[in-house]
């Protein structure tokens, strides 16, 4: 059977036969009722849209989550811009998101290229590398907390290879802790990006690659000239998705460092949580959340524009 224009044509049917006269649709043909969509629409409008709108509204108030509140204009945003801890959290979020995009895409693409064809172990290795993706990031982060601990595997490895001078409590070092969080985020999601690239690589015609090889193109030339143009949609998807994931990083921060040492590894999401639910500064938390939302919406618009440009 083949499917043409949405109609299934059983094999053996002469497709050149002139189309039969359009079948008169039976009256009252059942395509469902409009109100079947009502629960889904209501839930989305109330829980997603109304809640987000209220959140944006509270960003301009001094509410503590209890009792009355008054408008404070842009005071909360001024505070976000002035408070060193909050400014730091914006900087950390941007650092983590950028590093996350760069390294997951780099390693994900490398693994996808390596495990695309030829290798005998490719199916086993794909499954193993993808495995961390489906696990709870809280559980995964605790594994790494041990790896980075002072008596943990990383330091044991360093002393085994004679680099004792590098031994330290990695997560207690303000300048290294953020890199540790980045490493855990990247490690867990290389498989996620790899799978996106594998799906893209499957669309690269083998003949095209072979032709490039016969024409004397090297590995790098084949990659940039043939493979990369074909998988460009995958690159766009993987970049945007990892960027959005990276901007909302929370689990790894809370689990590995709790935002510390000091406030050295706070991110926007961890600040939203702490300001709102630990300190009761509801308005301030909402302002930080609004900043994060605007970041992500800008990205979504940019992605739409990029995708539309390509299809023209």
């Amino acid at each position: 059977m083949t499917i043409t224009n949405g109609r299934i044509i059983p094999s053996g049917t002469d497709t050149k036969e002139p189309d039969p006269a359009p079948v008169r649709r039976p009256s009252g043909i059942g395509f469902g009722r409009w109100w079947w969509a009502l629960p889904a629409v209501t839930l989305t409008i109330v829980v997603t849209y109304m809640a987000t709108a209220f959140g944006a509204f509270f960003a301009f108030t001094d509410w503590t989550g209890l009792g009355s509140f008054k408008f404070v204009g842009f005071d909360n945003f001024v505070q976000v811009a002035k408070d060193p801890a909050l400014v730091g959290s914006v900087r950390n979020t941007l650092f983590l998101a950028t590093g996350y995009v760069v390294f997951t895409n780099l390693f994900g693409l490398l693994f996808a290229l390596a495990l695309n064809r030829t290798l005998k172990t490719r199916f086993v290795l794909r499954a193993l590398i993808f495995m961390p993706v489906v696990l709870s990031s809280v559980a995964v982060s605790f594994i790494w907390k041990f790896v980075f601990a002072f008596d943990g595997p990383l330091n044991q490895f360093l002393s085994a290879v004679g680099l004792d001078s590098l031994k330290q409590d990695w997560l207690a070092n303000p300048s290294l802790a953020l890199w540790c969080i980045l490493a855990v985020m990247v490690w867990q999601n290389i498989g996620f990006v790899m799978v996106i690239y594998l799906a893209g690589l499957a669309t690269v015609p083998v003949e095209l690659e072979e032709a490039a090889g016969l024409d004397g193109a090297g590995v790098w030339q084949t990659f940039t000239g043939v493979v990369l143009p074909t998988i460009r949609p995958s690159v766009a998807i993987a970049t945007v998705l990892t960027l959005i994931q990276g901007l909302s990083v929370f689990d790894q921060v809370l689990t590995l460092t709790g935002g510390g040492p000091g406030d050295a590894t706070q991110t926007l999401a961890s600040q939203i949580y702490q300001q709102t639910f630990v300190y009761g500064a509801f308005g301030l938390g909402a302002a930080a959340a609004l900043v994060l939302t605007v970041f992500i919406l800008i990205l979504a618009v940019v992605q739409q524009v990029v995708v539309r440009d390509r299809s023209n």
Binding site: G55, F58, M131, D151, P153, F277, A300
Partner: protein, 280 residues
């Protein structure tokens, strides 16, 4: 060009070594969880346990174990909330997507757009008013409140994914079933929905994992309640065990076990779900 040459073998060895290094943390978790507290302190983290013991697991899982209550309760709430969300989500999102995919009215296109935009709206801003709302309704710490919130969180992408599938389904089935005298509800539940099995599988897997592993919403709404899900239980429990890594890793492994077990049997479908669900 894709013959297996000695270069392929060299590449294979390289990739296998890289993968082993990447997967070392799993070895460390498993071996450490089988060690006694003394052995964790005295031996290398890379070394296998000298005399593997299941004591850590027994302490957590046996009815007499001091911490077994937490673990079972976490498993129980995670299961209820995940299964509840997936079932409600599939029922509501498939019905909605079907209506949108089949409707020729302009309005339905506009309403469909509500879901498209909601896909990119992050949860962090909406979760604050939701918490206040749920507190006023007495739904904080309730599994039913969580099912509502998670269903709403996963709804946009589920509707989006389903409607792609419905659009590709020819209308002939409805015509034939109508001629046979089936009602609209029967047509949808008996004729159309069963053909959506691949879409339903993808929606169930992606939303199920998202809910099962979610920490941000769970810690806000459930922390301290009797319905903490596994990530929150693990977070609290490991946080309270200062550097007792063998016991910590036993908890971590128990929490991972259901998903890992599922992964062993469904890894192909899972990877396809991620790649396909995201592409469409």
């Amino acid at each position: 060009m894709h013959r297996y040459t000695k270069w392929s073998l060299a590449r294979e060895i390289l990739v296998v070594i890289a993968s082993i290094i990447m997967l070392l943390p799993f070895w460390i978790v498993i071996s450490t969880s089988l060690k006694t507290s003394d052995e964790v302190l005295t031996t290398s983290a890379f070394a296998p346990p000298k005399a593997a013991t299941l004591d850590n697991f027994i302490q957590l899982l046996s009815p007499e174990g001091s911490q077994s209550g937490n673990v079972y309760q976490g498993l129980f709430s995670s299961l209820i909330i995940t299964i509840g969300t997936v079932l409600v989500l599939i029922a509501l999102s498939s019905a909605a997507a079907y209506v949108f995919a089949r409707s020729t009215r302009k309005l339905s296109n506009t309403v469909f757009r509500i879901f498209l935009i909601a896909i990119v709206l992050p949860t962090q801003l909406g979760v604050l008013p939701l918490y206040i709302g749920a507190r006023n309704l007495g739904l904080v710490g309730s599994p039913w409140g969580m099912i509502v919130i998670y269903t709403a969180m996963t709804m946009p992408f589920a509707v989006f994914l389903y409607s792609g599938f419905f659009r590709r389904l020819p209308r002939d089935y409805e015509e034939a079933a109508t001629l046979d005298g089936a009602s609209r509800f029967q047509i949808f539940t008996r004729v159309i929905f069963p053909q959506m099995a691949p879409a339903t599988g993808t929606v169930a897997i992606l939303s199920g994992l998202l809910v099962w592993n979610d920490f941000f919403t769970a810690v806000i709404f459930l922390n301290g309640s009797p319905y903490m899900t596994l990530p929150v239980v693990v977070y609290n429990f490991v946080g309270s065990l200062v550097s007792q890594w063998n016991l910590s890793f036993a908890v971590v492994l128990i929490a991972m076990a259901p998903v890992l077990l599922f992964y062993v049997f469904a890894q192909k479908k899972l990877m396809q779900g991620y790649a396909g669900g995201i592409k469409s």
